[in-house]
Symmetry: C2
Subunit: 299 residues, 2 copies
Amino acid sequence: MVQTKLPNITHSIGVDIGGTKMSAVLFDLEKNEIIADYQLATPKDNLDNFLVMLWALIDPLIEKAKKEKFNVGRVGIGVAGVVDQPPPKNLEGKILDSPNLKIINNVSLGKIVFEKYGLPVVMDNDANCFLLAETKLGAVKNYASAVGVTLGTGIGGAFTVNHEIFHGVHGSAGEIGAMIVDVVEDVPHTLEEMYHNLTQANPELVAAEAYEGDELAGKVYEEVGRFIGLTLASMINIVDPEIIVIGGSVMKSSGLFMTEIKKNLKAEILSPKLKKIKIVAGKVERAGAVGAALLSPSM
Amino acid sequence: MVQTKLPNITHSIGVDIGGTKMSAVLFDLEKNEIIADYQLATPKDNLDNFLVMLWALIDPLIEKAKKEKFNVGRVGIGVAGVVDQPPPKNLEGKILDSPNLKIINNVSLGKIVFEKYGLPVVMDNDANCFLLAETKLGAVKNYASAVGVTLGTGIGGAFTVNHEIFHGVHGSAGEIGAMIVDVVEDVPHTLEEMYHNLTQANPELVAAEAYEGDELAGKVYEEVGRFIGLTLASMINIVDPEIIVIGGSVMKSSGLFMTEIKKNLKAEILSPKLKKIKIVAGKVERAGAVGAALLSPSM
Protein backbone atom coordinates (compact mmCIF):
# COMPACT_ATOMS: atom_id res chain seq x y z
CA MET A 1 0.00 0.00 0.00
CA VAL A 2 1.36 3.38 -1.01
CA GLN A 3 0.84 6.15 1.45
CA THR A 4 0.30 9.46 -0.25
CA LYS A 5 1.05 12.49 1.83
CA LEU A 6 -1.11 15.49 1.07
CA PRO A 7 1.03 18.55 0.44
CA ASN A 8 0.89 20.90 3.40
CA ILE A 9 -0.97 24.11 2.62
CA THR A 10 1.24 26.97 3.75
CA HIS A 11 -0.31 30.02 2.10
CA SER A 12 -3.60 31.41 0.87
CA ILE A 13 -4.88 34.36 -1.12
CA GLY A 14 -7.36 36.66 0.60
CA VAL A 15 -9.48 39.14 -1.34
CA ASP A 16 -11.62 41.91 0.15
CA ILE A 17 -14.18 43.36 -2.25
CA GLY A 18 -15.60 46.62 -0.94
CA GLY A 19 -17.87 49.20 -2.48
CA THR A 20 -14.99 51.61 -3.19
CA LYS A 21 -11.75 49.64 -2.93
CA MET A 22 -10.73 46.08 -3.30
CA SER A 23 -7.58 44.57 -1.88
CA ALA A 24 -5.85 41.23 -1.91
CA VAL A 25 -3.12 39.64 0.16
CA LEU A 26 -0.82 36.68 -0.20
CA PHE A 27 -0.90 35.30 3.33
CA ASP A 28 1.45 33.00 5.21
CA LEU A 29 -0.83 30.67 7.19
CA GLU A 30 2.01 29.38 9.37
CA LYS A 31 3.50 32.70 10.43
CA ASN A 32 0.14 34.50 10.18
CA GLU A 33 1.56 37.35 8.17
CA ILE A 34 1.03 39.19 4.92
CA ILE A 35 3.69 38.38 2.29
CA ALA A 36 2.40 40.81 -0.34
CA ASP A 37 -0.67 42.94 -0.83
CA TYR A 38 -2.35 45.00 -3.55
CA GLN A 39 -5.18 47.46 -3.56
CA LEU A 40 -7.26 48.92 -6.42
CA ALA A 41 -10.38 51.01 -6.90
CA THR A 42 -13.46 48.80 -7.40
CA PRO A 43 -14.81 49.10 -10.97
CA LYS A 44 -18.52 49.69 -10.68
CA ASP A 45 -19.57 50.03 -14.34
CA ASN A 46 -19.83 46.43 -15.48
CA LEU A 47 -18.88 42.88 -14.58
CA ASP A 48 -16.25 42.44 -17.33
CA ASN A 49 -14.26 45.43 -16.13
CA PHE A 50 -14.69 44.28 -12.57
CA LEU A 51 -13.22 40.87 -13.40
CA VAL A 52 -10.31 42.37 -15.36
CA MET A 53 -9.34 44.35 -12.27
CA LEU A 54 -9.93 41.39 -9.98
CA TRP A 55 -7.45 39.32 -12.03
CA ALA A 56 -5.03 42.27 -12.02
CA LEU A 57 -5.27 42.16 -8.24
CA ILE A 58 -4.80 38.40 -7.80
CA ASP A 59 -2.45 37.49 -10.69
CA PRO A 60 0.72 39.08 -9.22
CA LEU A 61 0.13 37.31 -5.91
CA ILE A 62 -0.26 33.94 -7.64
CA GLU A 63 2.89 34.67 -9.66
CA LYS A 64 4.82 35.56 -6.55
CA ALA A 65 3.65 32.40 -4.79
CA LYS A 66 4.74 30.26 -7.78
CA LYS A 67 8.14 31.90 -7.88
CA GLU A 68 8.66 31.33 -4.17
CA LYS A 69 7.27 27.77 -4.45
CA PHE A 70 4.65 28.48 -1.77
CA ASN A 71 1.87 25.95 -1.59
CA VAL A 72 -1.22 28.15 -2.02
CA GLY A 73 -4.19 26.07 -0.93
CA ARG A 74 -7.12 28.34 -1.63
CA VAL A 75 -8.57 31.73 -2.43
CA GLY A 76 -10.79 33.35 0.20
CA ILE A 77 -13.09 36.20 -0.81
CA GLY A 78 -14.95 38.65 1.37
CA VAL A 79 -17.78 40.59 -0.24
CA ALA A 80 -19.75 43.59 1.03
CA GLY A 81 -23.10 41.85 0.72
CA VAL A 82 -25.08 38.69 1.30
CA VAL A 83 -23.31 35.55 0.06
CA ASP A 84 -25.61 32.66 -0.79
CA GLN A 85 -24.51 30.33 1.98
CA PRO A 86 -21.92 30.41 4.68
CA PRO A 87 -18.82 28.28 4.12
CA PRO A 88 -18.56 25.40 3.39
CA LYS A 89 -21.91 25.36 1.62
CA ASN A 90 -21.30 28.20 -0.84
CA LEU A 91 -19.97 26.02 -3.63
CA GLU A 92 -21.24 28.37 -6.31
CA GLY A 93 -20.15 31.40 -4.32
CA LYS A 94 -23.17 33.34 -5.50
CA ILE A 95 -23.68 36.90 -4.29
CA LEU A 96 -27.34 37.45 -3.46
CA ASP A 97 -27.32 41.11 -2.57
CA SER A 98 -24.48 43.59 -2.67
CA PRO A 99 -26.08 47.01 -2.06
CA ASN A 100 -22.95 49.04 -2.84
CA LEU A 101 -21.75 47.00 -5.82
CA LYS A 102 -24.77 45.98 -7.81
CA ILE A 103 -22.82 44.60 -10.80
CA ILE A 104 -21.95 41.45 -8.81
CA ASN A 105 -25.52 40.75 -7.67
CA ASN A 106 -26.54 37.20 -8.56
CA VAL A 107 -23.06 36.50 -9.92
CA SER A 108 -21.52 33.13 -8.97
CA LEU A 109 -18.19 34.76 -8.26
CA GLY A 110 -16.77 31.76 -6.41
CA LYS A 111 -17.23 29.54 -9.45
CA ILE A 112 -15.68 32.13 -11.78
CA VAL A 113 -12.58 32.49 -9.58
CA PHE A 114 -12.27 28.71 -9.24
CA GLU A 115 -12.38 28.30 -13.02
CA LYS A 116 -9.74 31.00 -13.44
CA TYR A 117 -7.15 29.72 -10.96
CA GLY A 118 -8.09 26.08 -10.31
CA LEU A 119 -7.91 26.71 -6.58
CA PRO A 120 -10.69 26.01 -4.06
CA VAL A 121 -12.58 29.22 -3.33
CA VAL A 122 -14.21 30.07 0.00
CA MET A 123 -16.44 33.13 0.31
CA ASP A 124 -18.09 35.07 3.06
CA ASN A 125 -19.48 38.46 3.93
CA ASP A 126 -16.73 41.08 4.37
CA ALA A 127 -17.72 42.01 7.92
CA ASN A 128 -17.51 38.33 8.83
CA CYS A 129 -13.98 38.28 7.36
CA PHE A 130 -13.03 41.40 9.35
CA LEU A 131 -14.25 39.84 12.60
CA LEU A 132 -12.58 36.52 11.77
CA ALA A 133 -9.22 38.30 11.41
CA GLU A 134 -9.71 40.25 14.66
CA THR A 135 -10.80 37.05 16.45
CA LYS A 136 -7.90 34.92 15.23
CA LEU A 137 -5.14 37.53 15.33
CA GLY A 138 -6.32 40.90 16.55
CA ALA A 139 -8.23 43.04 19.03
CA VAL A 140 -10.69 40.37 20.23
CA LYS A 141 -8.36 37.38 20.17
CA ASN A 142 -9.16 36.12 23.64
CA TYR A 143 -12.90 36.67 23.47
CA ALA A 144 -15.36 33.87 22.70
CA SER A 145 -18.19 36.22 21.84
CA ALA A 146 -17.65 39.52 20.04
CA VAL A 147 -19.67 41.85 17.85
CA GLY A 148 -17.79 43.37 14.90
CA VAL A 149 -18.75 46.46 12.91
CA THR A 150 -17.08 47.78 9.77
CA LEU A 151 -17.39 51.39 8.68
CA GLY A 152 -16.46 51.87 5.05
CA THR A 153 -18.57 52.80 2.04
CA GLY A 154 -21.34 50.98 3.85
CA ILE A 155 -21.77 49.54 7.34
CA GLY A 156 -21.18 45.84 7.96
CA GLY A 157 -21.81 43.73 11.03
CA ALA A 158 -20.93 40.30 12.36
CA PHE A 159 -20.72 38.37 15.61
CA THR A 160 -18.97 35.36 17.06
CA VAL A 161 -20.28 32.63 19.37
CA ASN A 162 -17.74 30.28 20.97
CA HIS A 163 -14.90 31.87 18.96
CA GLU A 164 -16.65 31.20 15.63
CA ILE A 165 -18.44 33.48 13.20
CA PHE A 166 -22.20 33.09 13.60
CA HIS A 167 -23.66 32.69 10.10
CA GLY A 168 -27.32 32.00 10.80
CA VAL A 169 -29.40 29.65 8.70
CA HIS A 170 -29.03 31.44 5.34
CA GLY A 171 -25.57 32.94 5.87
CA SER A 172 -26.86 36.47 6.46
CA ALA A 173 -26.65 36.90 10.25
CA GLY A 174 -25.19 40.02 11.84
CA GLU A 175 -26.40 42.58 9.30
CA ILE A 176 -26.39 45.67 11.51
CA GLY A 177 -26.67 47.96 8.46
CA ALA A 178 -30.09 46.51 7.72
CA MET A 179 -31.48 47.33 11.16
CA ILE A 180 -34.19 49.99 11.38
CA VAL A 181 -33.18 52.90 13.60
CA ASP A 182 -35.61 55.66 12.68
CA VAL A 183 -38.97 56.23 11.00
CA VAL A 184 -39.10 59.58 9.20
CA GLU A 185 -42.49 60.72 7.88
CA ASP A 186 -43.72 57.13 7.98
CA VAL A 187 -40.72 55.79 6.04
CA PRO A 188 -38.48 53.41 8.00
CA HIS A 189 -34.74 54.00 7.67
CA THR A 190 -32.00 51.46 8.22
CA LEU A 191 -28.64 52.37 9.75
CA GLU A 192 -27.10 51.88 6.30
CA GLU A 193 -29.50 54.44 4.82
CA MET A 194 -28.88 56.96 7.59
CA TYR A 195 -25.12 56.55 7.14
CA HIS A 196 -25.39 56.82 3.37
CA ASN A 197 -27.60 59.91 3.48
CA LEU A 198 -25.67 61.71 6.22
CA THR A 199 -22.28 61.16 4.57
CA GLN A 200 -23.67 61.67 1.07
CA ALA A 201 -22.28 58.23 0.17
CA ASN A 202 -18.76 59.55 0.65
CA PRO A 203 -17.86 59.02 4.31
CA GLU A 204 -14.10 59.48 3.85
CA LEU A 205 -14.48 62.83 2.11
CA VAL A 206 -16.87 64.15 4.76
CA ALA A 207 -14.47 62.95 7.48
CA ALA A 208 -11.61 64.85 5.82
CA GLU A 209 -13.79 67.99 5.71
CA ALA A 210 -14.61 67.59 9.40
CA TYR A 211 -10.92 67.35 10.25
CA GLU A 212 -10.27 70.52 8.25
CA GLY A 213 -12.71 72.31 10.55
CA ASP A 214 -15.92 72.15 8.51
CA GLU A 215 -18.57 72.47 11.22
CA LEU A 216 -21.35 70.90 9.19
CA ALA A 217 -19.18 67.87 8.42
CA GLY A 218 -18.38 67.62 12.12
CA LYS A 219 -22.09 67.66 12.95
CA VAL A 220 -22.68 64.96 10.33
CA TYR A 221 -20.26 62.69 12.13
CA GLU A 222 -21.86 63.36 15.51
CA GLU A 223 -25.13 62.23 13.96
CA VAL A 224 -23.43 59.22 12.37
CA GLY A 225 -21.99 58.31 15.79
CA ARG A 226 -25.35 58.71 17.44
CA PHE A 227 -27.17 56.43 14.99
CA ILE A 228 -24.39 53.83 15.08
CA GLY A 229 -24.52 53.89 18.91
CA LEU A 230 -28.30 53.44 18.99
CA THR A 231 -28.29 50.63 16.43
CA LEU A 232 -25.34 48.92 18.05
CA ALA A 233 -27.27 48.97 21.35
CA SER A 234 -30.15 47.18 19.59
CA MET A 235 -27.76 44.54 18.26
CA ILE A 236 -26.03 44.15 21.64
CA ASN A 237 -29.40 43.68 23.35
CA ILE A 238 -29.98 40.74 20.98
CA VAL A 239 -26.53 39.14 20.91
CA ASP A 240 -25.25 39.91 24.46
CA PRO A 241 -21.52 39.58 23.68
CA GLU A 242 -18.35 40.21 25.72
CA ILE A 243 -16.83 42.94 23.56
CA ILE A 244 -17.35 45.10 20.46
CA VAL A 245 -14.67 45.72 17.82
CA ILE A 246 -15.01 48.41 15.14
CA GLY A 247 -12.94 48.58 11.97
CA GLY A 248 -13.05 49.69 8.36
CA SER A 249 -11.49 52.56 6.46
CA VAL A 250 -13.53 55.24 8.25
CA MET A 251 -12.14 54.22 11.66
CA LYS A 252 -9.05 56.31 11.01
CA SER A 253 -11.44 59.22 11.70
CA SER A 254 -12.83 57.63 14.87
CA GLY A 255 -12.13 60.81 16.86
CA LEU A 256 -15.11 62.35 15.06
CA PHE A 257 -17.73 59.88 16.27
CA MET A 258 -16.47 57.43 18.90
CA THR A 259 -17.66 59.50 21.89
CA GLU A 260 -21.17 59.66 20.43
CA ILE A 261 -21.18 55.92 19.69
CA LYS A 262 -20.22 55.08 23.27
CA LYS A 263 -22.64 57.53 24.87
CA ASN A 264 -25.67 56.34 22.91
CA LEU A 265 -24.70 52.69 23.12
CA LYS A 266 -24.43 52.66 26.90
CA ALA A 267 -27.63 54.67 27.35
CA GLU A 268 -29.68 52.08 25.47
CA ILE A 269 -28.30 48.76 26.70
CA LEU A 270 -30.91 47.01 28.85
CA SER A 271 -28.96 44.61 31.05
CA PRO A 272 -27.00 46.36 33.84
CA LYS A 273 -24.03 43.98 33.45
CA LEU A 274 -23.95 44.37 29.68
CA LYS A 275 -23.77 48.16 30.01
CA LYS A 276 -20.12 47.78 31.02
CA ILE A 277 -19.23 46.22 27.66
CA LYS A 278 -15.84 47.14 26.18
CA ILE A 279 -15.61 48.74 22.74
CA VAL A 280 -12.26 48.62 20.92
CA ALA A 281 -10.79 49.51 17.53
CA GLY A 282 -9.67 46.78 15.15
CA LYS A 283 -5.93 46.03 15.12
CA VAL A 284 -5.29 43.83 12.09
CA GLU A 285 -3.99 45.60 9.00
CA ARG A 286 -6.01 44.76 5.87
CA ALA A 287 -8.32 42.86 8.23
CA GLY A 288 -10.92 42.20 5.52
CA ALA A 289 -8.42 40.56 3.16
CA VAL A 290 -6.59 38.78 5.99
CA GLY A 291 -9.89 37.39 7.28
CA ALA A 292 -10.70 36.20 3.75
CA ALA A 293 -7.29 34.49 3.64
CA LEU A 294 -8.16 32.77 6.91
CA LEU A 295 -11.50 31.45 5.61
CA SER A 296 -11.41 27.70 5.56
CA PRO A 297 -13.59 25.19 3.71
CA SER A 298 -14.06 23.29 6.97
CA MET A 299 -15.64 26.25 8.75
CA MET B 1 -20.66 -1.08 48.42
CA VAL B 2 -24.21 0.15 48.59
CA GLN B 3 -25.64 1.50 45.39
CA THR B 4 -28.04 4.34 45.98
CA LYS B 5 -30.53 4.97 43.25
CA LEU B 6 -31.49 8.58 42.79
CA PRO B 7 -35.26 8.96 42.80
CA ASN B 8 -36.54 9.61 39.30
CA ILE B 9 -37.82 13.15 38.89
CA THR B 10 -41.26 12.92 37.32
CA HIS B 11 -42.76 16.37 37.84
CA SER B 12 -41.81 20.01 38.19
CA ILE B 13 -43.44 23.31 39.11
CA GLY B 14 -43.35 26.05 36.48
CA VAL B 15 -44.07 29.68 37.38
CA ASP B 16 -44.56 32.53 34.90
CA ILE B 17 -44.28 36.00 36.46
CA GLY B 18 -45.65 38.63 34.11
CA GLY B 19 -46.28 42.32 34.56
CA THR B 20 -50.04 41.81 34.97
CA LYS B 21 -50.65 38.14 35.69
CA MET B 22 -48.68 35.33 37.15
CA SER B 23 -49.43 31.69 36.65
CA ALA B 24 -48.04 28.38 37.83
CA VAL B 25 -48.37 24.80 36.65
CA LEU B 26 -47.69 21.40 38.11
CA PHE B 27 -46.18 19.66 35.14
CA ASP B 28 -45.74 15.98 34.28
CA LEU B 29 -42.26 15.72 32.75
CA GLU B 30 -42.87 12.22 31.40
CA LYS B 31 -46.19 12.80 29.65
CA ASN B 32 -45.39 16.46 28.98
CA GLU B 33 -48.70 17.67 30.28
CA ILE B 34 -50.13 20.10 32.80
CA ILE B 35 -51.59 18.36 35.88
CA ALA B 36 -52.91 21.52 37.53
CA ASP B 37 -52.57 25.24 37.00
CA TYR B 38 -53.38 28.48 38.79
CA GLN B 39 -53.39 32.10 37.76
CA LEU B 40 -53.48 35.32 39.78
CA ALA B 41 -53.08 39.06 39.26
CA THR B 42 -49.49 40.17 39.94
CA PRO B 43 -49.28 42.34 43.08
CA LYS B 44 -47.27 45.41 42.14
CA ASP B 45 -47.31 47.41 45.40
CA ASN B 46 -44.60 45.76 47.46
CA LEU B 47 -42.44 42.67 47.70
CA ASP B 48 -44.17 41.20 50.77
CA ASN B 49 -47.56 41.17 49.06
CA PHE B 50 -45.96 39.83 45.94
CA LEU B 51 -44.46 36.91 47.87
CA VAL B 52 -47.73 36.18 49.70
CA MET B 53 -49.45 35.78 46.33
CA LEU B 54 -46.56 33.79 44.91
CA TRP B 55 -46.87 31.27 47.76
CA ALA B 56 -50.64 31.24 47.24
CA LEU B 57 -49.94 30.29 43.66
CA ILE B 58 -47.38 27.56 44.34
CA ASP B 59 -48.59 26.06 47.66
CA PRO B 60 -51.65 24.26 46.25
CA LEU B 61 -49.52 22.69 43.51
CA ILE B 62 -46.96 21.44 46.03
CA GLU B 63 -49.83 20.10 48.17
CA LYS B 64 -51.35 18.30 45.22
CA ALA B 65 -47.99 16.79 44.27
CA LYS B 66 -47.48 15.53 47.85
CA LYS B 67 -50.94 14.00 47.95
CA GLU B 68 -50.40 12.22 44.64
CA LYS B 69 -46.87 11.20 45.71
CA PHE B 70 -45.32 12.82 42.62
CA ASN B 71 -41.58 13.32 42.77
CA VAL B 72 -41.30 17.06 42.15
CA GLY B 73 -37.66 17.74 41.32
CA ARG B 74 -37.53 21.49 40.97
CA VAL B 75 -39.24 24.84 40.58
CA GLY B 76 -38.69 26.74 37.33
CA ILE B 77 -39.45 30.47 37.22
CA GLY B 78 -39.81 32.71 34.19
CA VAL B 79 -39.62 36.46 34.82
CA ALA B 80 -40.43 39.38 32.52
CA GLY B 81 -36.98 40.92 32.87
CA VAL B 82 -33.27 40.33 32.92
CA VAL B 83 -32.21 37.47 35.19
CA ASP B 84 -28.65 37.69 36.52
CA GLN B 85 -27.27 34.68 34.69
CA PRO B 86 -28.67 32.04 32.42
CA PRO B 87 -29.17 28.60 33.97
CA PRO B 88 -27.27 26.87 35.49
CA LYS B 89 -25.29 29.85 36.76
CA ASN B 90 -28.14 31.78 38.39
CA LEU B 91 -27.73 30.26 41.83
CA GLU B 92 -28.99 33.40 43.53
CA GLY B 93 -31.70 33.84 40.93
CA LYS B 94 -31.32 37.60 41.13
CA ILE B 95 -33.51 39.78 38.92
CA LEU B 96 -31.45 42.61 37.49
CA ASP B 97 -34.09 44.55 35.63
CA SER B 98 -37.82 43.94 35.40
CA PRO B 99 -39.27 47.03 33.67
CA ASN B 100 -42.92 46.12 34.27
CA LEU B 101 -42.55 44.84 37.82
CA LYS B 102 -40.06 47.03 39.61
CA ILE B 103 -40.68 45.58 43.09
CA ILE B 104 -38.64 42.48 42.19
CA ASN B 105 -35.64 44.43 40.83
CA ASN B 106 -32.43 43.30 42.53
CA VAL B 107 -34.34 40.63 44.47
CA SER B 108 -32.70 37.20 44.69
CA LEU B 109 -36.01 35.50 44.02
CA GLY B 110 -34.43 32.11 43.27
CA LYS B 111 -32.86 31.97 46.72
CA ILE B 112 -36.11 33.03 48.42
CA VAL B 113 -38.11 30.32 46.64
CA PHE B 114 -35.44 27.72 47.40
CA GLU B 115 -35.55 28.61 51.11
CA LYS B 116 -39.35 28.37 51.12
CA TYR B 117 -39.75 24.98 49.43
CA GLY B 118 -36.33 23.32 49.71
CA LEU B 119 -36.43 22.49 46.02
CA PRO B 120 -33.79 23.45 43.44
CA VAL B 121 -34.86 26.59 41.62
CA VAL B 122 -34.04 27.39 37.98
CA MET B 123 -34.83 30.81 36.56
CA ASP B 124 -34.87 32.43 33.16
CA ASN B 125 -36.40 35.28 31.23
CA ASP B 126 -40.10 34.67 30.47
CA ALA B 127 -39.68 34.98 26.69
CA ASN B 128 -36.93 32.35 26.88
CA CYS B 129 -39.40 30.10 28.75
CA PHE B 130 -42.08 30.70 26.12
CA LEU B 131 -39.71 29.79 23.29
CA LEU B 132 -38.41 26.75 25.22
CA ALA B 133 -41.97 25.41 25.51
CA GLU B 134 -42.69 26.05 21.81
CA THR B 135 -39.36 24.45 20.85
CA LYS B 136 -39.80 21.33 22.98
CA LEU B 137 -43.53 20.81 22.51
CA GLY B 138 -45.13 23.37 20.26
CA ALA B 139 -45.18 25.39 17.07
CA VAL B 140 -41.44 25.31 16.33
CA LYS B 141 -40.73 21.77 17.52
CA ASN B 142 -38.81 20.67 14.45
CA TYR B 143 -36.80 23.84 13.99
CA ALA B 144 -33.21 24.21 15.17
CA SER B 145 -33.25 27.98 14.96
CA ALA B 146 -36.31 30.06 15.84
CA VAL B 147 -37.02 33.58 17.01
CA GLY B 148 -39.76 33.90 19.65
CA VAL B 149 -41.71 37.03 20.56
CA THR B 150 -44.19 37.45 23.42
CA LEU B 151 -46.85 40.15 23.41
CA GLY B 152 -48.29 40.76 26.87
CA THR B 153 -47.99 43.74 29.20
CA GLY B 154 -44.59 44.20 27.59
CA ILE B 155 -42.79 42.69 24.62
CA GLY B 156 -40.32 39.86 25.12
CA GLY B 157 -37.93 38.21 22.70
CA ALA B 158 -35.76 35.11 22.50
CA PHE B 159 -34.02 32.88 19.99
CA THR B 160 -32.72 29.36 19.65
CA VAL B 161 -29.51 28.08 18.03
CA ASN B 162 -29.19 24.32 17.51
CA HIS B 163 -32.50 23.71 19.34
CA GLU B 164 -31.29 25.53 22.45
CA ILE B 165 -32.14 28.93 23.92
CA PHE B 166 -29.35 31.40 23.18
CA HIS B 167 -28.56 33.22 26.41
CA GLY B 168 -25.58 35.35 25.46
CA VAL B 169 -22.73 36.07 27.83
CA HIS B 170 -24.74 37.80 30.59
CA GLY B 171 -28.06 35.98 30.12
CA SER B 172 -29.79 38.89 28.40
CA ALA B 173 -29.76 37.95 24.71
CA GLY B 174 -32.83 38.29 22.52
CA GLU B 175 -34.29 41.44 24.08
CA ILE B 176 -36.35 42.68 21.12
CA GLY B 177 -38.27 45.09 23.35
CA ALA B 178 -35.05 47.00 24.02
CA MET B 179 -34.34 47.58 20.33
CA ILE B 180 -34.54 51.15 19.06
CA VAL B 181 -37.11 51.53 16.27
CA ASP B 182 -37.71 55.28 16.05
CA VAL B 183 -36.18 58.60 17.05
CA VAL B 184 -38.85 61.21 17.82
CA GLU B 185 -37.67 64.79 18.33
CA ASP B 186 -34.16 63.53 19.04
CA VAL B 187 -35.35 61.02 21.66
CA PRO B 188 -34.77 57.36 20.75
CA HIS B 189 -37.68 54.99 21.39
CA THR B 190 -37.49 51.27 21.93
CA LEU B 191 -40.13 48.87 20.67
CA GLU B 192 -41.22 48.38 24.29
CA GLU B 193 -41.76 52.14 24.67
CA MET B 194 -43.71 52.40 21.41
CA TYR B 195 -45.90 49.46 22.46
CA HIS B 196 -46.40 50.88 25.94
CA ASN B 197 -47.26 54.37 24.69
CA LEU B 198 -49.52 53.25 21.83
CA THR B 199 -51.54 50.85 23.99
CA GLN B 200 -51.47 53.17 27.02
CA ALA B 201 -49.91 50.32 29.01
CA ASN B 202 -53.11 48.31 28.65
CA PRO B 203 -52.83 46.30 25.43
CA GLU B 204 -55.66 43.88 26.22
CA LEU B 205 -58.16 46.67 26.90
CA VAL B 206 -57.27 48.53 23.70
CA ALA B 207 -57.57 45.25 21.76
CA ALA B 208 -61.05 44.70 23.19
CA GLU B 209 -62.02 48.23 22.14
CA ALA B 210 -60.71 47.60 18.64
CA TYR B 211 -62.82 44.44 18.37
CA GLU B 212 -65.86 46.42 19.50
CA GLY B 213 -65.35 48.67 16.48
CA ASP B 214 -63.41 51.56 18.03
CA GLU B 215 -61.58 52.98 15.01
CA LEU B 216 -58.87 54.69 17.01
CA ALA B 217 -58.09 51.46 18.88
CA GLY B 218 -57.95 49.68 15.52
CA LYS B 219 -55.45 52.25 14.24
CA VAL B 220 -53.39 51.82 17.40
CA TYR B 221 -53.01 48.12 16.64
CA GLU B 222 -52.05 48.81 13.02
CA GLU B 223 -49.28 51.01 14.38
CA VAL B 224 -48.32 48.37 16.94
CA GLY B 225 -48.14 45.78 14.14
CA ARG B 226 -46.03 48.09 12.00
CA PHE B 227 -43.47 48.76 14.73
CA ILE B 228 -43.30 45.10 15.72
CA GLY B 229 -42.76 44.16 12.06
CA LEU B 230 -39.96 46.71 11.61
CA THR B 231 -38.19 45.73 14.83
CA LEU B 232 -38.62 42.03 14.14
CA ALA B 233 -36.98 42.59 10.74
CA SER B 234 -34.00 44.16 12.53
CA MET B 235 -33.73 41.16 14.83
CA ILE B 236 -34.13 38.68 11.95
CA ASN B 237 -31.35 40.45 10.01
CA ILE B 238 -29.08 39.77 13.01
CA VAL B 239 -30.14 36.23 13.96
CA ASP B 240 -31.07 34.77 10.54
CA PRO B 241 -33.37 32.00 11.86
CA GLU B 242 -35.64 29.43 10.17
CA ILE B 243 -38.95 30.53 11.65
CA ILE B 244 -40.63 33.07 13.94
CA VAL B 245 -43.17 32.18 16.63
CA ILE B 246 -45.32 34.78 18.39
CA GLY B 247 -47.21 34.20 21.64
CA GLY B 248 -48.42 35.95 24.75
CA SER B 249 -51.83 37.06 25.99
CA VAL B 250 -52.29 39.70 23.27
CA MET B 251 -51.98 37.08 20.48
CA LYS B 252 -55.65 36.20 20.93
CA SER B 253 -56.19 39.56 19.16
CA SER B 254 -53.69 38.76 16.40
CA GLY B 255 -56.27 39.60 13.73
CA LEU B 256 -55.72 43.27 14.62
CA PHE B 257 -52.00 43.41 13.80
CA MET B 258 -50.65 40.27 12.14
CA THR B 259 -51.04 41.56 8.57
CA GLU B 260 -49.06 44.70 9.45
CA ILE B 261 -46.35 42.67 11.19
CA LYS B 262 -45.89 40.44 8.13
CA LYS B 263 -45.94 43.29 5.61
CA ASN B 264 -43.34 45.39 7.42
CA LEU B 265 -41.21 42.41 8.35
CA LYS B 266 -40.87 41.15 4.79
CA ALA B 267 -40.23 44.62 3.40
CA GLU B 268 -37.21 45.13 5.63
CA ILE B 269 -35.45 41.76 5.56
CA LEU B 270 -32.16 42.06 3.67
CA SER B 271 -31.34 38.55 2.48
CA PRO B 272 -33.55 37.36 -0.40
CA LYS B 273 -33.74 33.82 1.01
CA LEU B 274 -34.58 35.02 4.50
CA LYS B 275 -37.51 37.08 3.15
CA LYS B 276 -39.47 33.82 2.80
CA ILE B 277 -39.31 33.16 6.54
CA LYS B 278 -42.38 31.60 8.14
CA ILE B 279 -44.19 33.33 10.99
CA VAL B 280 -46.50 31.25 13.18
CA ALA B 281 -48.56 31.61 16.35
CA GLY B 282 -47.56 29.79 19.54
CA LYS B 283 -49.43 26.55 20.27
CA VAL B 284 -48.59 25.60 23.85
CA GLU B 285 -51.15 26.59 26.48
CA ARG B 286 -49.61 28.47 29.41
CA ALA B 287 -46.39 28.37 27.39
CA GLY B 288 -44.55 30.66 29.81
CA ALA B 289 -45.26 28.48 32.84
CA VAL B 290 -44.74 25.24 30.90
CA GLY B 291 -41.39 26.52 29.61
CA ALA B 292 -40.42 27.40 33.19
CA ALA B 293 -41.37 23.85 34.22
CA LEU B 294 -39.09 22.55 31.45
CA LEU B 295 -36.10 24.62 32.62
CA SER B 296 -33.36 22.30 33.72
CA PRO B 297 -30.29 22.95 35.87
CA SER B 298 -28.17 21.23 33.23
CA MET B 299 -29.14 23.71 30.51
